[in-house]
Amino acid sequence: MINGQSEQLPEGLNATGLIAHLGLQAQRLALEVNREIVPRSRFDSHYFNPGDCVEIVRAIGGGGR
């Protein structure tokens, strides 16, 4: 699951590959897998498992009152 949607991914994908696969490489974002943050410094070494729950977030307008 990625951001609440079921996604079929190519096998053997790391986090850097996933971000590229989704076309998000130019964006500032943060990645969470199964409720644990994966820091950008570990994107190359982080590989996904079947059934992983992935959240990719960004900053948008919002906030005060």
Partner: protein
């Protein structure tokens, strides 16, 4: 005649200090509810704000990634971002949001904590807020906290280590203005950290009243973004905050029941 003139004190000598950093503007603004990013940018420029709240939300998967990005339109070299936990109804959700914000913003630790109680009032859930504040402070976050106008809770949040305490003036987005000025005053009198009114301001005079009570600043979004002319309201709010601050510093006259003439009685010829 006095040789020393008492001059107006420019903002540069009266900064707002939050977590050790000095800001010239005492108006903090949210970046939500605008028509588009261009209007967001223009309104925030007109407000003169230096601290802006941002929300942390899911990236749109499968959409064009070259759509403009808030962080590019409002760059970090001009603004201090204040990621906020808007929309969170539990301590766990708020803590998770702040951790993601810190990763997203390269280790940025200044956050706005709000944990809501229910959708009808958007009043804070104080039990969850206290729990989240404790966790966040322990993890090294610098917490500016949204709370109700209860002086006891405001003091407790300060004692825990929050870097600013931000009581509501009225429900979020209600535009009702300062509903309990006496409580806000008590909170200010008790505090050694900045007290900012967060939520409930509707128009410029509301913002000025908050500042005249002695608030260190005001955080708002809807009052500007929801105005018929957001840019004009942003400018009005900037002036109201400055006027209210100067009025507070100047020291108002006491209220009296009867008149007191401002022209001399001596020298009348009638």
């Amino acid at each position: 005649m006095s040789t020393v003139m008492q001059t107006a004190s420019p903002a540069s000598t009266d900064p707002l200090i939050i977590d050790g950093l000095a800001y010239q503007s005492r108006l903090l603004v949210g970046t939500g509810k605008y028509r588009d990013l261009d209007q967001t940018r223009q309104a925030i420029e007109a407000s003169g704000a230096q601290i802006i709240t941002v929300a942390i939300r899911r990236t749109n998967i499968g959409q064009s990634s070259d759509e403009p990005n808030l962080l590019e339109v409002l760059p970090a070299d001009r603004y201090t971002y204040l990621p906020n936990t808007a929309g969170c109804y539990s301590a766990a959700e708020a803590v998770r949001t702040c951790r993601l914000a810190r990763e997203l913003l390269d280790g940025h630790t200044l956050v706005k904590l709000e944990v809501l109680g229910d959708e009808k009032t958007l009043f804070p859930d104080i039990v969850q807020t206290l729990e989240a504040a404790a966790t966040l402070i322990a993890e090294g976050f610098r917490v500016m906290v949204y709370t109700n106008d209860d002086p006891i809770i405001a003091k407790r949040l300060e004692d825990m280590g929050c870097v600013a305490v931000m009581p509501l003036a009225a429900p979020i987005g209600s535009g009702l203005g300062i509903r309990n000025p006496h409580n806000i005053q008590t909170i200010i009198e008790n505090a050694t950290v900045p007290i900012l009114v967060d939520a409930g301001v509707g128009c410029a005079s509301d913002a000025a009243i908050a500042m005249e009570l002695g608030c260190d600043g005001v955080l708002m979004n809807t009052a500007i973004a929801g105005a018929s002319n957001p840019l004009l309201m942003a400018s009005a709010m900037k002036k109201a905050i400055e006027a209210g601050r100067e009025s507070w510093l100047a020291g108002r006259i006491p209220k009296k029941r009867f008149a007191s003439a401002s022209s001399p009685v001596d020298g009348t010829f009638f």
